[in-house]
Amino acid sequence: MEPWEEEEGPEVVKRFMYVNRRAPYGTIYALECLEVVLIAAAFDQDVSVVFVDDGVYQLKNNQDTGGIGMKNFSKTYRALDDYDVEKIYVERESLDQRGLTADDLIIPVEVVATDKLREIMAQQDVVISS
């Protein structure tokens, strides 16, 4: 066997979590993280996406960026479902603090309390925060 012909081992699926903590337009972090998630989704791993702190603002519905000359990327979150990214968690405490509810968000999510989110986070193999 040549060196480049790797032996096919049992497929290893790792648990990847992407933690969004920033509002969408003031910095580039939110858009960059969304692009990373969509790319990573192509690799058939166990992907979950989390929105906490100001990250919950990324999912606010009715965004209209016509007046500020920036790309409205909020609709792209709807593509997560097409990429089979179905584990989308939003921390309840972060929503409450900002006077928001799940009804204010552009996609269906699982709203979880801090205690639950801590458990889910502890089970991950890789956690990427932005």
């Binding site: 606010k60 960026t65 007046g67 500020i68 900002r98 006077g99």
Partner: protein, 103 residues
């Protein structure tokens, strides 16, 4: 001519720029919330009290295009905050002796 125009462009949950601004702004001056600073204008957020208790002695403005971009057109703002457009932003800068950005 009014005194100072304070510009705040950071989320009140992410940075303490708004708190510092409100602590140091002299009565009679104005505060314009722009970019991520507009989140501080949301009435139902826990950050609202800091602004609402100063509506009497400071004049508050929020930049409309930044409100719309963040999907907050349907979200009630704190009473007493006036919405301005980019033209209004320019007018405010001209009408005040000094503009200070709380970066």
């Amino acid at each position: 001519m009014s005194k100072m125009l304070h510009l705040v462009n950071k989320s009140p949950f992410d940075r303490n720029a708004l708190d510092s601004c409100l602590r140091l702004a002299e009565a009679g001056s104005s505060v314009l919330l722009i970019e991520d600073g507009v989140y501080a204008a949301m009435r139902k957020a826990t950050s609202a009290e800091a602004i609402s208790k100063r509506v009497g002695d400071l004049t508050f403005y929020v930049l409309g295009p930044d409100v719309s971009a963040r999907g907050l057109d349907d979200t009630p703002l704190i009473d007493g905050i006036a919405v301005v457009d980019y033209g209004g932003f320019v007018d405010l800068v001209v009408e005040h002796e000094v503009a200070q950005s709380w970066l």
